[in-house]
Amino acid sequence: MTEHEQSDRIAWQATDGNVLLRLAGYAKTNPVVANSLGYFYFQTSYALYPRRLYAAPADQVINDGQDIMRIGFSPDPQWLQAHDVRSVLIFGKDNPGEETPRLEILQPRDGRAGMQTNNSGGN
């Protein structure tokens, strides 16, 4: 599967709301993945639009993958709810054998999106 097909698939799977980009494992710090992270973020942001792929608050400059790593965005549930985030896209692996990137749909809490995820861990 090509990178743009992967992004299109993610956009199709994340049927509702916005998406949070979360880095896992080596992707948090390893500069080697900065380029592919940047490409992936740009491509998926394009595929998702008008929905959003959040990797930082709107006042943080992202020009490349290194910026995403440097910011290491980890919003609280209130922020996710306020920004209608309904799924998390995980780039990198917390454990060997995990698929990357992978999409996890957030479980609605009290009938509202963006409050809780099945995924453990986080950055």
Binding site: F42, Q43, S45, Y46, Q60, V61, I62
Partner: protein, 464 residues
């Protein structure tokens, strides 16, 4: 359904161009090449600006907006037909001469190259990094929201990588296609960008025909169509070839104004320069350079030339005013060469030119990128050196020199590592200069003798 809708949209662009050319030009005649090259080029630039202005007052590109533009265009065409101002189409600009029959060879090769570019372009969605991250993204935003109120996108720094301050010509034209198709299908929508890309070839042919006979003009156009760098960048969905295409029109009409001082040439020089400035940020610099050269030659050339230069700046400002004002507040958080080039950095970084200029020279000799284009242009310039006595040739050389110098200076102030940046961007940047290089080659060739034969009558007949 999407493809026919997109083709209808391109037809509307052609109609807009035809109407505008009929209004601008007094000769009431147009050749087939002007119809399929100049017409769509003027039409595309005008359409991009019209969609931008409509969006500024709150109307995103839609079928309704396109229908209004279509109705207004048809109404203007009807009025011009009544007043007998509608340009008539002539198949040939001049009589068919001995040797012109060989034209079919370069023509077939050119058409084959362009068809191949279009087919390859339409066989995939946007995959080039800049194409989706910058131009495609903006097209989606503009198709989705009007510019009033300003969409959140333009102030969201997490999308800074998409160059929030870049001009919107290509995105608006693509958004227009999305509106016509009723869907944001970027694969079919690429028809618009590849259409703009391949228009460079007839635009260059048009400029060459000013001074050259059919056959040499067609051969040089074929060389352009077959350039490896054309195959690399045509149809990828970026704005570099549309910039080169509009730039070809701007410098051609600047040269013609300097040579003949006829108002339609000046109007087209203004329009194309305005389109260039609305296509990429470097286009603003190129448009100002066109104006500076007109002013320089205007100071020499008497009152009409001086007034023409003043009219150029006034016209350019008038056409692009809305963009200049609206874009003033956009964040410049990525590269921002404009500010850097206006700062003292230019002076402190001058020594870097010692590294940049040789790299640019080496790049022009890269056969796998340019074939023998630059070398051929140099040889023809030497053989046809007498052309340098003509003011329009001098103007074109100055324009090319300023163009190359501005890019060398931009490299000198970049925050990127030059050894990494230059190899991946230089072919794309030098692509912008190709119209000037080919015009120089052709117009010098006209002085060598092989391409000579342009009589006063031919010039009159080629008067658009």
């Amino acid at each position: 359904m999407a493809l026919p809708a997109c083709c209808l949209y391109l037809l509307l662009i052609l109609l807009v161009g035809y109407a505008l050319l009929s209004a601008v030009h007094s000769s009431n005649r147009m050749t087939i090449v002007q119809l399929i090259g100049l017409g769509p080029a003027v039409g595309a630039g005008t359409m991009g600006l019209l969609l931008f202005w409509a969006s500024l007052i709150g109307f995103a590109p839609s079928r309704k907006v396109l229908a209004i533009i279509g109705v207004l265009t048809l109404a203007s065409l009807l009025v011009m037909k009544k007043k007998q101002r509608l340009a008539r189409i002539n198949i040939l600009a001049t009589e068919w001469k001995k040797g012109d029959g060989w034209m079919f060879v370069p023509l077939v090769i050119t058409l084959a190259a362009l068809v191949m570019i279009v087919v390859v372009a339409l066989s995939s969605p946007l995959t080039e990094w800049d194409a989706f991250a910058i131009w495609g993204f903006k097209a989606k935003v503009l198709a989705h929201e009007a510019l009033r109120p300003t969409p959140a996108y333009f102030h969201d720094l997490t999308l800074s990588y998409s160059h929030l301050d870049y001009p919107l010509m290509v995105p608006f034209l693509t958004a227009g296609a999305y509106a016509a198709m009723g869907t944001m299908d970027d694969q079919t929508g690429k028809l618009v960008s590849v259409f703009l890309d391949v228009l460079l070839v007839p635009m260059v042919y048009l400029g060459l025909r000013w001074k050259l006979r059919r056959l040499p003009a067609a051969c040089l156009s074929t060389i352009l169509a077959m350039l490896p760098v054309m195959f690399r960048y045509a149809g990828v969905g970026c704005a570099d070839l549309p910039l080169a295409m509009f730039y070809a029109g701007s410098i051609f009409y600047v040269a013609r104004w300097i040579d003949r001082q006829q108002w339609p040439d000046l109007i087209l020089a203004i329009l194309f320069s305005a389109f260039v400035a609305f296509t990429k940020n470097e286009g603003t610099v190129l448009a100002l350079m066109n104006g500076a050269v007109l002013l320089g030659f205007g100071l020499w050339g008497g009152r009409r030339a001086w007034v023409g230069a003043a009219a150029f700046f006034a016209g350019l400002l008038a056409v692009d005013a809305a963009w200049l004002i609206w874009s003033r507040s956009l964040p410049r958080t990525h590269e921002d060469y404009g500010s850097k080039l206006l700062s003292s950095l230019v002076v402190t970084h001058l020594p870097k030119l010692k590294e940049i200029i040789p790299a640019m020279l080496v790049q022009t000799t890269e056969f796998k990128v340019w074939g023998l284009l630059w070398i051929m242009a140099g040889v023809l310039a030497l053989l046809g050196w007498r052309a340098l006595a003509r003011p329009y040739m001098l103007a074109l050389w100055i324009l090319l020199g300023l163009h190359l110098m501005s890019y060398a200076l931009a490299y000198s102030v970049t925050s990127w590592d030059l050894t990494m940046l230059m190899p991946i961007t230089m072919d794309r940047l030098l692509l912008h200069t190709v119209p000037a290089v080919i015009f120089l080659a052709g117009w010098h060739w006209a002085e060598v003798g092989t391409g000579q034969g342009i009589t006063e009558r031919t010039l009159r007949e080629n008067s658009m």
